[in-house]
């Protein structure tokens, strides 16, 4: 693929594969120990968008930190393309829940940070940055600081910063949390479009059911405390995904399936008194109710 070709600038197409084997994480605090993850085994397939779901407090963020290499599992192993994870690396990129843009750098400096620290030449950096900034619609805003951008723009800047490094694997931890409903929907559409264009290996964490199904090739559902893989669901909705699919019969069918699987875990979390789980339960009950009325 030539360098001038749009996709060539965005990615060389060298994507990775993640394999988790019996990953367990136990936190020891004083004489208490809490088992957060319990023998999690699943794969994030090459070039696929895998969504990790589960009620809040099921260890999704911990799992992300393990895959990213920020923390080490208590037992079990994580492989990237067959080689075990040992610390963070630029082959994996994480987009965090809260914004992690550097407030003291302009959008341009933020986006090109990865290139700068890796010693990519100035000309190539500029070419890549301009392409990617246009792609995410932030070219006009390249000299602004993050605090001068809206929430949605900040998320797009972060996606751009992550993509410029052309990572083998992109990890997104509830990246659209805290955005208003409309912006969130637009961001989902934008993100899924980017994914479909590039086809990078993505691991996406969310507890929004519609978001999960709309984006994913495969949904992995975790149980509540300790987090264990409860189910893996292939999402066979056609690509490219569009928003009217949210109303399609197949989507509804999958959603019912996911809701049933999540219901049990969410009610466990609900009984445990987690505030976030309470919210999720509310959402599930509302949706179930709505669907019954439909029928």
């Amino acid at each position: 693929m030539s360098r001038n070709d749009g996709n060539g600038v965005l990615s060389k197409g060298d994507f990775g594969e993640v394999r988790l084997e019996d990953v367990t994480k136990v936190y020891e605090k004083a004489d208490q120990s809490q088992r957060v993850l319990d023998e999690c085994t699943f794969s994030v397939e090459r070039g696929k968008l895998t969504v990790l779901m589960g009620p809040s407090g099921c260890g999704k963020t911990v799992l992300i930190n393990l895959v990213a290499g920020y923390e080490k599992p208590t037992s079990g192993r994580i492989f990237i393309d067959g080689s075990p994870v040992d610390g963070p690396g630029s082959d994996r990129l994480v987009v965090f829940q809260e914004t992690a843009l550097f407030p003291w750098m302009t959008v341009y400096s933020n986006v090109t940070f990865g290139c700068q620290v890796q010693g990519v030449g100035r000309g190539e950096t500029k070419e890549r940055a301009e392409h990617i900034l246009k792609k995410v619609g932030l070219y006009e805003f390249r000299d602004k600081y993050p605090s001068q951008l809206s929430g949605g723009m900040q998320r797009r800047a972060e996606l751009a910063r992550a993509m410029i490094n052309d990572p083998k694997i992109m990890i997104l931890d509830e990246p659209f949390r805290g955005l208003d409903a409309m912006t969130r929907q637009l961001m989902q559409e934008f993100y899924v479009g980017l994914f479909e264009e590039i086809g990078r290996t993505n691991l996406f964490v969310t507890h929004e059911i519609d978001e999960a199904i709309f984006l994913a090739d495969r949904v992995v559902i975790l149980t509540f405390q300790p987090g264990k893989v409860k189910a893996e669901i292939e999402i066979d909705l056609p690509r490219p995904r569009e928003f009217h699919m949210l109303a399609s019969p197949r989507f509804m069918e999958i959603r019912e399936q996911v809701i049933d699987l999540l219901y049990e875990e969410a009610s466990k979390a609900f009984a445990a008194g987690s505030k976030a789980a309470y919210d999720l339960m509310g959402a599930i009950v509302a949706r179930k109710g709505a669907c019954e009325k439909c029928e």
Partner: protein
């Protein structure tokens, strides 16, 4: 184009002459009137207070004398030597303590033991310790700013969100990048806060030190006005010290704004 310029002028005009600025100006006028009144009706215990016009006359005298401006020069040099030394030593020390736990364990307890001692309490020791009066004043000014800057830098480093460091390292940053591009700019707001507070304390310490031990400088000048029973000149000295402190703080604030363009909105 012209219209835009006209609009801008209008906006500038409004900014300068808005109602709040007028109120602020009035408050100063009222203060001077009140002062005049207090002296005129001879309020008990305040009968020695000079009239505003006497102070104004004293100020005019001072403005024409070389010794007065010399005093400004001496004080400013003392402030800047001590203050800049405190930053040069304090900022790296604070960064080191903020970054390395081992280093902090070895240094922080001693630091915390010395920190609560008011800078003015160092005066006797400083005079004995340093060979010249001038050096001991530099040292006292240094103490006034040093502990404040160090504690602020430590705070600044620990306030940097761990996700920024994680983000940087997953983008391929090595420790030197994390230090120069994350930790240093990330602690800059706290450094500027430390410098602003430090500048205020520095003037307190300088004036006390000058009154006790100094030759020349604004503090000494004010003290000498007292020994000569020249009350208008005492007030001139006080006001000068206030103005000097204000100018120095403004300078630090201005530096802060220049150093942190991301703090400005739009």
């Amino acid at each position: 184009m012209e219209m835009i310029q006209e609009l801008r002028l209008k906006r500038e005009f409004k900014k300068v002459f808005n109602i709040r600025v007028i109120r602020g100006f009035l408050s100063i006028v009222m203060f001077v009137v009140l002062w005049q009144l207090v002296v005129f009706i001879k309020v008990p215990y305040l009968e020695n207070l000079p009239y505003p016009k006497d102070v104004a006359a004293g100020a005019a005298d001072a403005a024409g004398s070389r010794t007065y401006w010399f005093g400004w020069g001496i004080s400013l040099v003392r402030i800047f030597v001590g203050f800049i030394m405190a930053q040069l030593i304090g900022i790296p020390l604070g960064l080191a303590m903020g970054i390395s736990r081992t280093f902090k364990d070895f240094t922080f307890p001693v630091f915390e033991m010395l920190r609560p001692i008011p800078p003015i309490a160092w005066i006797p020791l400083a005079i004995l310790f340093w060979p010249t009066r001038e050096l001991s004043i530099y040292f006292l000014v240094f103490i006034g700013a040093f502990f404040i800057i160090v504690i602020n830098v430590i705070q600044g480093v620990s306030n940097i969100s761990v996700s920024l460091k994680w983000a940087a390292s997953s983008l391929g940053a090595r420790p030197k990048h994390i230090f120069w591009r994350i930790l240093v700019p990330g602690s800059l707001p706290s450094i500027i806060t430390g410098m602003t507070v430090g500048m205020g304390v520095t003037w307190n310490v300088l004036i006390a030190a000058e009154m006790i031990a100094g030759q020349g400088g604004l503090g000494r000048m004010t003290w000498e006005a007292y020994t000569n029973n020249n009350i208008p000149f005492i007030v001139v000295g006080m006001v000068s010290i206030g103005v000097a402190g204000y100018l120095c703080s403004t300078l630090v604030r201005w530096l802060g704004e220049k150093a942190m363009p991301w703090k400005k909105r739009f």
